[in-house]
């Protein structure tokens, strides 16, 4: 397990549908995760979509990486002024006898320095691209693939 991982769970008496709405829609997240959640484009929080989240005095960018309807949502996020320090959040929802259990896991991403050893590294252009919620999603996969810098695996 990576060292920088945090997991938290809570049990709620709310039903699954209402809880999922709170976890996986911009309006729902704005009620508890941040004071506002602005998703770029139409379609909501779907894989590949980007959003800006305001939480207190922090502005965070997020990119949705995975969504299983009614079950889980995963996204990568970072402070707007710290694009070099992203982490991945996975929110899972499980029905219980009394209602629902929400489990959140946040793991710091490994972003290797340019030219260093590691899994992969994002160029500054890729970070800018991910951080720009106005980018057209239909161009994103190809552009992003072109900006991923291959980094040699450790010996």
């Amino acid at each position: 397990m990576p060292i920088r991982t945090v997991t938290r769970s809570i049990d709620l008496t709310a039903d699954v549908a209402r809880t999922w709405e709170a976890l996986a829609t911009a309006e729902g997240l704005a009620a508890w995760l941040g004071s506002s959640v602005e998703v770029a484009g139409a379609g909501g929080l779907l894989p590949g979509s980007t959003a800006v989240l305001v939480e207190g005095d922090r502005r965070r960018r997020l990119v949705v990486s995975e969504r299983t309807e009614g079950g889980s949502l995963a996204f990568t996020w970072w402070d707007e002024d710290r694009p070099d320090d992203p982490s991945t959040v996975r929110v899972e929802l499980d029905a219980t006898d009394e209602g629902v259990r929400v489990t959140v896991t946040e793991t710091a991403d490994v972003v290797a320095p340019l030219g260093g050893a590691g899994r992969a590294s994002l160029s500054p252009a890729a970070v800018d691209h991910l951080a720009d919620p106005g980018s057209a999603w239909d161009r994103r996969p190809a552009r992003l693939a072109g900006m991923l810098l291959p980094v040699p695996a450790p010996a």
Binding site: I3, R4, V6, L12, R18, T19, A22, W32, V104
Partner: protein
């Protein structure tokens, strides 16, 4: 950076308590402080804060320094600082967020246990 074997056990045991994580987060982000200053911002007594600080000190996460009659606590410098501070800060942030989620979805939950 690495954490392995017996060295890590007291650290993760110390971080297993939500109030202790909050105490550590405040020491990490607020700099050197006394137990009285920490207790003023937490919903627990000074005595409870002192006990949490003693557990954190035993795990090597905080150190004490005496200034006259005051005992001040600070984050221990070392290779674990970054990871521990990250875990404490991110964990405390999720504690706050999930408490807001509970208030949003469960406005009348059963009484929470005393954290003191």
């Amino acid at each position: 950076m690495s954490v392995a074997g017996d060295d890590a056990d007291p650290i993760f045991a110390a971080l297993g308590d939500p109030t202790r994580r909050e105490v550590l987060r405040r020491v990490a982000t607020g700099g050197e402080q006394t137990a009285t200053q920490l207790a003023a911002e937490l919903p627990v007594s000074r005595q409870a804060v002192v006990k949490h600080l003693q557990v954190l000190a035993a795990a090597g996460l905080v150190a004490t320094e005496r200034h006259g009659r005051e005992q001040r606590y600070r984050l221990t410098p070392g290779p674990l600082d970054d990871a521990v501070a990250w875990i404490a800060e991110v964990g405390a942030a999720w504690d706050d967020r999930l408490a807001r989620l509970r208030r949003h979805l469960d406005p009348d939950p059963p009484p929470a246990p005393d954290l003191g």
